[in-house]
């Protein structure tokens, strides 16, 4: 049973979507009345029961940018996802190596509801929002991507973190038998990331299951990832299998690999020099001229207060 409500941005993308990747996996979008959307949602939940194959209504968001959206082809064929290979074109080629079914997320640490969760438990299909965010990679390129998800805060509140939880640590799947990138010690696998509690609870931080109106392609971090739009892309950890509430600042993968290059915070900041890339400018994928990089990737109004009084050159 397939119900597909077409959208303006769908048309071009469907032509470039690899049918292998999306076979049996679709998100059906609905931008109009919530009642109709809810109906479509319940119909489809009945039809497709497997974990991760979410569908649902999509609400637009005031947090979305109206900048031109990067083509879906670019966003799905130019990826940093070292688990699936170290070159930009590797993750799309090796996408099938990531096994997303079955998938569960372990919740541990300082919270009242630890346990094993399905993707739907954390991201209810009828609450999906579309958020069109700028994505700024530390390598000085950027994209504009329409994500589908729920605020991470919504999910975390259900887990009821206790007062001892000051940070949230995330972990990506570890599966060196299948994931070609994990067969060499290029990074200290598994990939780990973390956020301070107030960053995790910030309404911009999105727990994401889809993009461009569809289920996340494997190379973009299926079936569940976070998106933190004011930080460099590597903070937005993909294919999450573990969420842990902790008291101390947790280790993060790139920081462990090269501490003087990648800090725990890694907020987009044109003023903080990086030994490899000047962070003053960026190339928006698809454009020739470079753009000026904005403080906190243009989200300063929303997030600058989180860091008031902090020396951002020290806590880079």
């Amino acid at each position: 049973m397939l119900i597909r409500v077409s959208r303006r941005s769908d048309e071009k993308e469907s032509a470039v979507t690899d049918p292998e990747i999306y076979r049996q996996r679709r998100i059906f979008m609905q931008q109009c009345a919530a009642g109709v959307a809810g109906l479509a949602g319940s119909l489809l939940v009945g039809g497709q029961a497997r974990a991760g194959l979410t569908i649902g209504a999509v609400q637009s968001s005031p947090y979305s940018t109206d900048e031109e959206i990067t083509s879906m082809h670019a966003a799905t064929h130019y990826n940093n996802f070292y688990e699936l290979g170290y070159k930009k074109e590797d993750p799309s080629r090796n996408a099938a190596a990531l096994q997303t079914e079955p998938w569960t997320v372990e919740v541990e640490g300082y919270c009242e509801n630890p346990g094993t969760y399905a993707v739907e438990d954390l991201v209810p299909v009828d609450q999906l929002e579309e958020r069109i965010y700028r994505l700024r990679c530390v390598e000085a390129w950027s994209m504009v991507i329409p994500w589908l998800g729920v605020p991470l805060a919504t999910a975390l509140k259900k887990l009821r973190p206790t007062s001892q939880a000051r940070y949230v640590a995330f972990q990506t799947i570890l599966d060196p038998e299948n994931l070609p990138g994990q067969r060499r010690d290029v990074l200290d696998w598994p990939y780990v990331e973390g956020l301070r509690m107030d960053e995790a609870m910030h309404p911009l931080t999105l727990l994401t299951v889809g993009m461009y109106g569809q289920v996340l392609p494997n190379q973009n971090g299926a079936p569940i990832r976070i998106v933190v739009p004011w930080k460099y892309g590597f903070k937005s950890i993909k294919s999450i299998v573990k969420i842990r509430f902790v008291e101390e600042q947790p280790p993060t993968a790139w920081n462990q690999a090269t501490p003087h290059e990648y800090g725990f915070y890694s907020n987009v900041n044109p003023e903080v020099n990086h030994p490899r890339w000047s962070q003053r400018r960026e190339r928006r994928i698809g454009e020739f001229r470079k753009r000026k990089t904005l403080m906190f990737n243009g989200y300063a109004e929303e997030v600058a207060h989180l860091y008031s009084g902090m020396d951002l050159h020290k806590y880079f």
Binding site: H73, A74, H77, Y78, Y82, Y86, K88, E89, W141, R184, V186, L187, A257, T258, N273, P275, R276, S278, R280, R283, I285, F288, R289, K290
Partner: protein, 201 residues
């Protein structure tokens, strides 16, 4: 011993062969098939081809010894000049597409970023080699020419450092290129009188 002369078609054929990567890139640029970030592809590819041509140039001397074929010497200049050709495009893509000729930014880059410092050093060292590649310069400089052109060892080392320092985590490819360079250098310390067995373990 082989005859000291080679067929006249070899040089033009080699020339065209050396141009293939450039033609391939130009074709890719024209047809927009250089991937999602074509400017990055251009920079990366010309950088890689520079290293390959430097190593090919350095391969000629050991190969002459190994094959006892001094005729190969006549192709070395072309290989070296192609290394310079690709490094010039490589530098050009950086100056234009990356920095849009913002000389202040470029100067900061050279000072701040070690891999740029190394890459720029490699380029600067290759300039006099390209300029003195003519037969006339060779004759005029006599013995000094040989000493001057040993700069290729320094330039290649700088080019390899440039590669190592720009890589984020996956060092496999720079290690491969550095190993080949190491092997070619080892092949040079082999005594010229030794029997032609591979000098590397």
């Amino acid at each position: 011993m082989r005859a000291p002369t080679a067929a006249g078609w070899i040089k033009p054929a080699l020339f065209l062969l050396c141009l293939v990567p450039a033609i391939d890139l130009a074709h890719g640029a024209w047809t927009n098939t250089l991937g999602v970030n074509p400017l990055e592809t251009l920079t990366r590819s010309t950088g890689t081809w520079t290293l390959r041509f430097l190593l090919l140039t350095l391969l000629v001397t050991p190969l002459i010894r190994l094959m006892k074929a001094p005729v190969l010497l006549r192709y070395r200049r072309m290989l070296g000049l192609f290394a310079f050709f690709y490094v010039s495009i490589h530098l050009g893509t950086y100056l234009w597409f990356d920095k849009f000729f913002d000389w202040q930014e470029i100067w900061l880059d050279i000072q701040d970023r070690l891999f740029i410092t190394a890459g720029m050093t490699a380029f600067v060292l290759l300039v006099p080699l390209a300029l003195t590649s003519t037969r006339r310069a060779q004759r005029a400089l006599a013995h000094a020419w040989n000493r001057l052109h040993r700069l290729i060892y320094v330039a290649t080392t700088a080019g390899l450092l440039h590669y190592f320092w720009l890589v984020k985590a996956d060092y496999l490819e720079p290690i491969i290129y550095a190993s080949i360079f190491g092997a070619l250098m080892l092949a040079r310390i082999r005594k010229p009188t030794a029997v032609s067995a591979p000098g590397i373990s």
